[in-house]
Amino acid sequence: MLRRTLLMLGVALPFAAGLAPAARAAGDVVVALDANIIGLDPADLNDNLSMTASRTMLQGLYGFDKDMKMIPVLAESTDASADAMTYVIHLRKGIIFHDGAPFNAEAVKTSFDRARNPDNHLKRASLYAPIDKIEVVDNDTVKITLKYPFGAFINNLAHQAYAISSPKAIAEFGKELGRHPSGTGPYKFVSWGTDTLKVAKNEKYWKPGLPKVDSITIRSMPENGVRLAALQAGEAQYIYPMPPELVRVVEKDPRIDVVSARSIYARYVAMNNMRKPFDNPKVRLAMNYAVDKNAFLKVVYGGYGVPLDSPLPSNLSGYTKQGSYPYDPAKAKALLAEAGLPNGFETVLWGGNSTLSQRAMQFLQQQFAAVGVKVAVEPLESGVAAAKIWNVKTPEEATTMMHFTAWSASTGDADWGLRPLLDGGAFPPTLFNTAYYSNPVVNDAIKAGLTTADPAKRQAAYDIAQAQIWKDTPWIFLISDDNVSAKTKTLSGIYVLPDGQMLMEEAELK
C-alpha cells in the first residue's frame, strides 16, 4: 500500500518540487525545539524559545555566559552609585548593527526608550519600570537614573528584554520591528515562516573568529519522540528539550551526545496557606514529608535533577542551602494526626495539562494517598488555568488548594526567584504567589535585598528570607530538574542556559 502511495504522490505532487528547500548547505545547523517562535522583538517576548531565537541576533549591554554568569557584552563596564540609583555605563566601541547603523549611546537610549514607552504596549515594559531617565553622556557612555533604589538592576540589563535593536530599524519598521530584527549579534535575520526561523552568519561580527557556522535554522517539532527521531535521522543537529525518559534510546548511539546541566527551575506545589487545612503549618510540613523527591525525580524526570533544598534552586545567585525534608510517610501521618486529621483529608491538585505535568501530578496523587490524603488531579488547559489563578480580586476569593507549578527567575537573581512567588504583596492578580503566603520577616528581607546594591547585604537579606520560608513550608519543595538536550557529536558550542534559554554564538560543526 505504501508503494502505491508513493507512486501516486509522485503523480499528484509535481508542484511540490518547487517548494523544496535546497539540500542543507554545508555549515547549516538545524536546531529542533518544542514550540513555535512567537516573536522576535526582544522587548515584547516572555517565552524562552522566542528569547532564544532573539539572542542569536540581538544583544544587550550585559548578557550571560553558558553558566548564566553575568558578563558584559555591549558594555565595557558600569559604575553604580552606592545608593543603587544611578548607573553610568561605558560602551564597547566600533560596533555596527546588521543594517549598518552604528552602535553608540544614542542607539542605547533609542532602543530603551522605545521599549519602556507605555504607548508601545510592549510586554516587557515592566522590566524597564525602575528607570526614570536615560541620558547620553557622550558617544560611548550612557547614564541611567532609577526612580527608586534597585540593587539587581544590572541583572535586568542582562535580560534579553534589554537587548538593543538598531535605531534605523526602529525608525523604519515601528510596530513591525519584531518581524525585521536587526541587532549586533553573531547572526543576521534571513527568514521566519511557519515553524522555521533561519539566521545567517554576520560577517562583520565584532567578536573575532565568530560565528563559525554559515547559518542556523530553528525548527519547531512539538512531539517529543519525533524531535529525537529527527536527531537520529540526521535532520537536526541539536534538540532541546531531550525527553529524559528516552535517553536510554540514544545512550549507546555513537553519533549522539546527551547533554544535561543544572537549571534554575524550581518545581513545587504551592499550598494555599490561607485555606484549611493548609493554614496549619503541621499539615504543610506533613505534606513535605509525604513526598519521596528522589522517586519523583526518577519517575517523572528520568532522574535528571536534584531535590530542592531551599526555596531557590541551587544554581540561582543568592541561593543558600537550607536542609531537606526526607521521605517519611510515618512522620507525615503522625503530623497529620497531631493536626487533628488522623484520617487524612480530601483536596484538589491543579497543574498544567502537558504529558509531563500530568505524570508529575499522578505521582504526587499516589504519594499523598499513601498517607491518607485523597487528591483529585485537575489538569488545567492554559486559558482555564489563567482564569482560575488570575481572575481573583482578593485572596479570599481564591479557590486554589494545591498548585503544581514551576518557576525560573528570568533575571537570574534571587529577587525574582522569591518576590513574585512568596512576597506578601505578590498575591494574584498582582504576581504569582499562589501559596498566598505572607510572613513579615520574609517581606522585610525581600525589601531589604531590593533596596541595596551591596552584594553582601543582599545575600544576608536573602539568607534570612530563605531560612524563614524553608521553616514555614508554604510549598511542598520538590525538585530542580536538569535541562537535558541532545546533539550530534560533530556539533559543539550550543548551550542551554540554566533558565532554559540557549546560546548559539559559538556553534561549530566539525
Binding site: 517529543n224 519522540g225 529525537l228 525527553p243 525518559e245 528516552l246 536510554r248 534510546v249 522517586a295 526518577k298 519517575v299 495539562n353 502537558s354 504529558t355 500530568q358 505524570r359 501530578m361 499522578q362 505521582f363 496523587q365 499516589q366 483529585a376 488531579v377 485537575e378 489538569p379 488545567l380 488547559e381 486559558g383 482555564v384
Partner: protein
C-alpha cells in the same frame, strides 16, 4: 397493515427477529467480532474479580518492566500492572464509545429525518445549523467543553457526542431524500399513511442500515477520538486507565518500553475492528431486501 407494504411478502411469514437471527448466523466474521466484544464487555463488567492487580496502585520497585509471569503485559511508569489497567480501562473506553454514539446518534437521526422528510425552510434551517456544527472543528468544541465544564471523562463523552450529531443528521437526511421518492414510500403515501408513520416505519428502517454502519464506525472513532483528546492533554483525568490515555501517556516511552503503547494500542485496535466487523454483519443481516 401498512408496514407489510415495505416488505417482500415472504418476510411477513417469518418473524422479523427470527429472520434477522437466521441471516446473522451466516456472518461468521461478525460472530467472531461479537464474541470478542462480549468478552471485552464481560471482562470490563467483572474487572474487580478478573484483574490480577489494582489498576491504580503503584509499585516503584518494578517500573517499566516488560511482560513477565507476574505481570503478563508488563508494568507502566509507576509500576502499575498494564493488564489490570486494560481490563479496568475497558469500562471507561467502552462507555465512551457507547454513550457518545447513542447520544449523538439519536439526536442526529431525529434531525436528519425531520429535515429530509419535511424539506423546505425547516430542512434549510436544520441543515445550516448542522453546517455550523460541522464547520466548528471537533477538537475546538472539545476544548471549549472541557474549558467550560472542566476535565473528565463525562465531558469527553459530551464533546464526542456533539460532533457526531451533524454527520448522522446529514446521512439520514440523504437517505430520507432518496427514499421519499422511492416506490414504496410513494405508494404508502398514496394510500394515506400518516407522516409520523411514514417517517418511522417506512423511511427510518430504510435509513437504518446506513446508520448502523456509521454507528459501528463511529463507536470505534469515538474511542479513537478520546485517544486524540488525551494526546492533546484534554482526555480522561489521571489516574483513569482509559485506553487512549494509557496510549497517549505511554508514547513518551516509545523506544524504551514499547509495551506501554503496544497493549493499549492493541486493545483499541481490536475493539474498533470488532465494532466495525460487527456493524458490517449487522447491516447485511438487517437489510430486509437482501437474500
Amino acid at each position: 397493515m401498512s408496514a407489510t407494504l415495505a416488505q417482500p411478502p415472504s418476510a411477513a411469514i417469518r418473524t422479523p427477529i427470527g429472520e434477522f437471527l437466521r441471516r446473522f448466523r451466516r456472518q461468521h466474521l461478525a460472530l467472531i467480532a461479537l464474541a470478542v466484544l462480549l468478552a471485552l464487555v464481560l471482562s470490563a463488567v467483572f474487572a474487580p474479580w478478573i484483574a490480577p492487580y489494582d489498576p491504580a496502585t503503584p509499585d516503584y520497585a518494578s517500573v517499566l518492566d516488560g511482560p513477565s509471569a507476574a505481570h503478563w503485559l508488563g508494568t507502566d511508569a509507576y509500576g502499575r500492572d498494564i493488564l489490570s489497567r486494560i481490563i479496568w480501562g475497558g469500562r471507561v473506553s467502552l462507555s465512551v464509545g457507547f454513550l457518545s454514539v447513542a447520544l449523538g446518534g439519536m439526536v442526529g437521526i431525529v434531525i436528519g429525518l425531520i429535515s429530509g422528510f419535511f424539506g423546505g425552510w425547516l430542512d434549510g434551517a436544520l441543515m445550516r445549523l448542522m453546517d455550523v456544527l460541522l464547520a466548528f472543528p471537533g477538537i475546538i468544541l472539545a476544548i471549549g467543553v472541557v474549558a467550560l465544564l472542566g476535565p473528565g471523562i463525562d465531558n469527553v463523552i459530551y464533546s464526542i457526542a456533539v460532533f457526531s450529531v451533524p454527520v448522522f443528521a446529514r446521512l439520514v437526511r440523504g437517505t430520507t431524500l432518496a427514499l421519499k421518492q422511492s416506490l414504496y414510500v410513494q405508494a404508502a403515501r398514496s394510500i394515506g399513511v400518516g407522516k409520523m408513520a411514514l417517517m418511522l416505519r417506512h423511511i427510518l428502517p430504510g435509513a437504518m442500515p446506513g446508520v448502523i454502519v456509521y454507528a459501528s464506525l463511529r463507536l470505534g472513532t469515538s474511542i479513537l477520538t478520546a485517544a486524540s483528546l488525551s494526546f492533546i492533554g484534554l482526555g480522561a483525568r489521571p489516574p483513569s486507565p482509559e485506553w487512549g490515555a494509557m496510549l497517549a501517556d505511554g508514547r513518551s516511552f516509545l523506544g524504551v518500553a514499547d509495551h506501554l503503547t503496544l497493549f493499549p494500542g492493541l486493545a483499541i485496535f481490536v475493539t474498533v475492528l470488532a465494532f466495525n466487523i460487527l456493524g458490517d454483519g449487522l447491516r447485511d443481516a438487517l437489510d430486509q431486501k437482501l437474500r
